[in-house]
Amino acid sequence: MSPIISIDNLCKSYGDASALRGISFEVEVSELTAIIGPSGCGKSTLLRCLNGLELFDSGRVRIGEITLDLDNGLSHRDFNARLRRLREEVGMVFQSFNLFPHLTALENAMLAPMAVKKVDRRKAESTARELLAKVGLSDRLDYYPSQLSGGQQQRAAIARALAMEPKVMLYDEPTSALDPSLVGEVLSIMRKLDDEGMTQVVVTHEMRFAREVADKILMLADGELIESGSPDVIFSSPRDERTRNFLQRYL
């Protein structure tokens, strides 16, 4: 079976500063891939390139059957349409949650299916209820984001992303904005999704989580993929000097 995500020689620079220098990797279906690395190494940029929130300068991103590359001769309009199709298949969870503050948790999870997929209200609501129950928020359906704790907000955000029935979930430092005591509840949801066979890519600083749950670790430094492999290999016998230094600071 072919990998569900394949990234080919991805490059991205902001002016003179290059953020990503030719990154290539693949993700198999239902794998959990953790991207680690020191601050400013391009982890978030890489993740945002995967669903087109950042546009890369060269290279190719393929997720499922949809390929994004820049020299494809597509019109602006067609490119945008393809971008949207890609985003429908990819759920994204942000560091700062970005829940819609004017909607309740339930409405947050209902909006996108109704607006994008034209699911009717009743069906969207029942799906949203199910998903919120799954992330342990069935007693918080009618709460507004400002009435929820950070952990609850992040769980609601995960439910919102799941409501679009994505094939792949991306997490951009999902626990970095959380009080340490609330980290666990979010990670346990991701663990549960992993058990159910969801393909997930996580940018994280939670080394313990990465070690225990991830199927594959990607170590980024200075915009390059310096090491990748199973957690056991990376954590116990890192080859690169920078990886060793980095891990030492965290463990």
Binding site: N51, L53, N80, R84, R85, R87, E88, V90, G91, M92, F94, S96, N98, L99, F100, P101, H102, L103, L111, A112, M114, A115, V116, G136, D139, R140, Y144, S146, Q147, S149, G150, G151, Q152, A157, R160, A161, M164, P180, S181, V183, G184, E185, L187, S188, R191, E206, R208, F209, E212
Partner: protein
């Protein structure tokens, strides 16, 4: 250092394990743990539900206040209608979240189809229908029977004896010109119908077809003859000099040199004074103000049409007439150049009225029969005796009133102010604001998201309409647009004018509101697969709408008061009714205070409504709670994020 790290890791481990939590502890126990500083116990044993329960217990007094507050609507505690309003608001909220105010780049057919589909249950259409119904309601009901009517324009603010609201029943307009036109109407077998129009705009109003005749002391001059045709003169008079009673140095027109002299703007008197030269001319909009200033010593003389002087200067013991009236002018009925047949009919009717003596009886009733007119009518007559209406009117403005009478009079102001003025002001303001909000939102979105040329256009619109006076915009819309074939009714012109002007301000409000929404919101919406338009419609605009409620309310109140300007395009609204009352009763203070109070009281509910809506729709409930706590000086622990 190592110790803390170990503790951290230990906790993380427990958290990941999930199942290995300590047995649950009750809320008081956790509070004690918290107070004792034992964070580990609190952290590990308290899940989200409990945390919230904890907060809820602590927040109980606050909840009570909150409920109390919410049960108020517009300051009244009234549960059932309040519940109704809340439901309505929830509907409205859902409405604009899902179906309204968002633009969708659909072809017109699809848009129509969607509109039609919503016909059964749709709110968009219902709103549109409501809007339309309001508009229809406001259009003059007499429109149907226009052909039979003899429609003529005049300005009831001009005052006695021409046209004025009846002091006994201010909703009725009286004046010798009303009597004249009723007589002509009778002769022509058509019902005379008076149309209120600003005096300056009488001829333009005639030309754009608001009415078929203009009658309001319009002097027949060569200038005007180039624009319109005039009937045979129906009245002749001169200009009368008035001075203070103790003044002895002025005995003729020649003595006015070097003096400060007041007159009415654009009248024959003004031209005489300017021709004379060496006179400092002050031109007034209103005769009362001129005679007031004369009595107060700000002017040394006033020169005005004789009938006006008879009504406003002669009864005043502080003032006296000097000499006979100067020069001679003829009032004529103005008719459009193309209406030759109507002109003939009016002339025939006038001749008949002159021959039968009917016209003289009217003038005598009003006490303005004079030698010049006598000569014109080629009839010999003795000096006029003051008529009955004249007596009543002069009594009315000179009499000292007791408190009781004064109260009675103020009470008589209320029907015209409340029944004619206030509803029109309210209607114009509401419709104007609705237009402004729609325009503002559209312009703000184009400004922010459309490609360059369109964005520049939106910016140009804002600068243009914000940077030019509303008064001139209204003039251009009402009197200017007919030149290129667009004829708007006064109400539509007023609503469009106010809407366009305030739309520019609203656009800036919305732009600020939209720009204040964090970037992450758009990113989150896009990452869910929404298009940019969908993101704006469902995520950005609803949030921005909430943010801009205070400045938009501000603008609504400003618009509410600015709506008084539309009287220049012949709308009779609150301020115009005030002007009519004030000049009839010669009472600027009483009527003024009353009118200001009505404006204030009408604006108040909207302010309260806006605050209420703002609270209801607040996205960050927590902030509101905190604010309330500060307000009442009581409180509870804030919710920990």
């Amino acid at each position: 250092m190592i110790e803390t790290l170990a503790r951290e890791r230990g906790r993380e481990h427990r958290a990941w394990g999930g199942a290995q939590r300590n047995p649950r502890k009750s809320a008081p126990e956790i509070i004690r743990a918290c107070e004792a500083g034992d964070r580990d116990v609190a952290n590990t044993s308290c899940d989200e539900g409990q945390t919230n329960e904890l907060i809820a217990t602590n927040c109980r007094p606050l909840r009570g206040l909150d409920r109390l507050y919410r049960n108020q609507f517009l300051g009244f505690r009234c549960a059932p209608p309040q519940a109704l309003c809340r439901r309505l608001l929830r509907r409205l909220d859902r409405l604009y979240r899902n179906q309204f105010l968002g633009f969708r780049c659909a072809p017109p057919q699809a848009l129509c189809r969607r509109l039609l589909r919503r016909l059964k249950t749709g709110w968009t259409l219902k709103l549109a229908l409501l809007f339309f119904a309001l508009l229809c309601l406001a259009l003059p009901a007499e429109a149907q029977s226009r052909d039979q009517q003899l429609r003529w324009g005049g300005d009831a603010e001009g005052g006695a004896p021409y046209l004025l609201p009846n002091p006994k029943n201010p909703r009725e307009i009286i004046g010798f010109e009303i009597d004249l036109m009723n007589a002509i109407g009778k002769d022509l077998n058509r019902k005379s119908f008076f149309v209120q129009n600003q005096w300056d705009g009488l001829i333009p109003g005639l030309q754009r077809g608001n009415y078929d005749l203009a009658v309001n002391g319009i002097e027949i001059t060569d200038d005007r003859k180039q624009q319109v045709n005039f009937s045979i003169p129906y009245y002749v008079c001169g200009e009368q000099i008035s001075v203070r009673a103790g003044e002895n140095s002025i005995n003729s027109l020649a003595d006015l040199k070097g003096k400060v002299v007041g007159t009415l703007k654009g009248s024959l008197a003004q031209r005489i004074l300017e021709r004379e030269g060496g006179i400092e001319v002050r031109s007034y909009e209103n005769q009362n103000n001129a005679y007031d200033d004369l009595a107060l010593g700000r002017l040394q003389a006033v020169l005005m049409d004789w009938p006006i002087a008879v009504y406003y200067s002669k009864p005043n013991p502080k003032l006296k007439f000097i000499g006979p009236s100067i020069e001679r002018m003829e009032y004529g009925i103005a008719v459009r150049k193309e209406d030759a047949e109507l002109l003939n009919q009016v002339n025939d009717a006038l001749l008949a009225l002159i021959k039968s003596g009917e016209l003289r009886r009217i003038y005598e009733k009003w006490g303005i029969w004079n030698g010049e007119t006598d000569q014109l009518f080629a009839k010999i007559s003795a000096a006029s005796q003051p008529g009955q209406v004249y007596e009543e009117f002069t009594q009315n403005i000179t009499k000292k009133l007791t408190w009781r009478e004064r109260l009675e009079r103020y009470k008589s102001y209320l029907p015209p102010l409340l029944l004619i003025g206030a509803p029109m002001t309210l209607l114009i303001s509401l419709l104007g604001m609705a237009v402004a909000i729609v325009i503002g939102l559209a312009v703000a979105l184009v400004y922010l998201y459309a490609p360059r040329p369109a964005s520049w256009l939106a910016r140009g619109y804002v600068e243009l309409f914000r940077g030019t006076p509303l008064l001139i915009q209204l003039y251009l819309i009402f009197y200017g647009l007919p030149n290129i074939g667009i004829r708007l009714s006064p109400l539509v012109a007023a609503v469009v004018g106010l809407g366009l002007n305030y739309g520019a301000y609203e656009a800036e409000n919305y732009r600020a509101g939209i720009e204040a929404i964090p970037r992450g919101q758009m990113e989150a919406a896009l990452s869910l697969g929404m298009t940019r338009a969908q993101s704006l419609r469902h995520v950005i605009v609803p949030q921005a709408m909430r943010l801009v409620i205070p400045p938009v309310t501000n603008d609504f109140i400003a618009l509410f008061k600015d709506s008084s300007i539309v009287s220049v395009i012949t709308m009779v609204e609150l301020t115009k009714v005030y002007g009519q009352l004030a000049s009839t009763y010669y009472d600027y203070i009483g009527a003024g205070v009353l009118t200001a109070a009505i404006y204030f009281l009408m604006g108040l509910p909207f302010v309260r409504l806006a605050r209420w809506v703002e609270k209801r729709l607040a996205t960050d409930k927590r902030v509101i709670v905190t604010a309330k706590r500060r307000w009442f000086g009581v409180g509870a622990k804030p919710v920990e994020g």
